[in-house]
């Protein structure tokens, strides 16, 4: 399961998508929206995507995980539009035969997503707004 959603993310459905009888480890990463940036109160956040390319890049992450960590699978859905503070903007589920591969693949998925997937975040404060890019390291 790879996708973009304007509705709250369905963690159970995303997790169930990677379950398998040979997969003894499952990690579910939630990225949630924070309430402050450098001391400024964030009222809400908005995400927008280059939808076709974002889906393609997330699919490439999933395919890389399947190749690099045999027996593993990944599912991920990113929220778009208005996201209230404290809710998940991204949920990534990874399942592997054993835990070591699962931790590695989970970390690879979120790191690569933050670096490559064309999605943009706007923080809206009480007194203005700003587009926030991810750190490049």
């Amino acid at each position: 399961m790879i996708g973009l959603s304007t509705d709250p993310l369905d963690v159970d459905a995303i997790t169930d998508a990677v379950r398998g009888p040979g997969r003894g480890a499952i990690l579910v990463f939630h990225g949630t929206t924070r309430d402050t940036f450098e001391g400024r109160g964030v009222v809400r956040l908005e995400y927008e995507a280059y939808a076709g390319m974002a889906t393609a890049e997330m699919t490439r992450i999933r395919d890389t995980i399947r190749q690099r960590w045999p027996g593993s699978d990944a599912a991920m859905v990113h929220r778009l539009g208005l996201v209230p503070v404290g809710e998940a903007s991204i949920v990534i589920a990874v399942a592997s035969p054993h835990r070591a591969a699962c931790y590695e693949a989970s970390r690879f998925a979120i790191d690569t997503l933050k670096e490559r997937v064309p999605i943009w975040k706007k923080e809206i404060y009480a007194d203005g707004s700003a587009w926030k890019a991810n750190a490049t390291t």
Binding site: Y47, Y50, S89, W120, K121, A133, N134
Partner: protein, 79 residues
């Protein structure tokens, strides 16, 4: 005349006041040259962008062809 669809996102869409445009290419024009022509630096300078052609990352030295979908991607913030 070769023309491409150009997509703007995030802070660049705000700056341009548009999300898409149909643009006629100049002979031999690269993605980087197209960006420089369409989005000249403003008071805040140029927004650094990555380039995409038909939903794949591309180098600025690539030359788009007729019918391509070109996108200028400001630094991403998903996750």
């Amino acid at each position: 005349m070769a023309s491409v669809t150009v997509l703007y996102f995030g802070p660049l869409a705000e700056r341009m006041g548009a999300r898409r445009a149909t643009v006629t290419l100049q002979p031999g024009e690269t993605l980087a040259a197209l960006y420089a022509r369409l989005c000249p630096p403003g008071r805040e300078g140029s927004l650094p962008v990555a380039f995409a052609r038909n939903e794949h990352y591309a180098e600025g030295t690539e030359q788009p062809v007729d019918g391509d979908e070109v996108a200028f991607l400001p630094p991403v913030g998903g996750g």
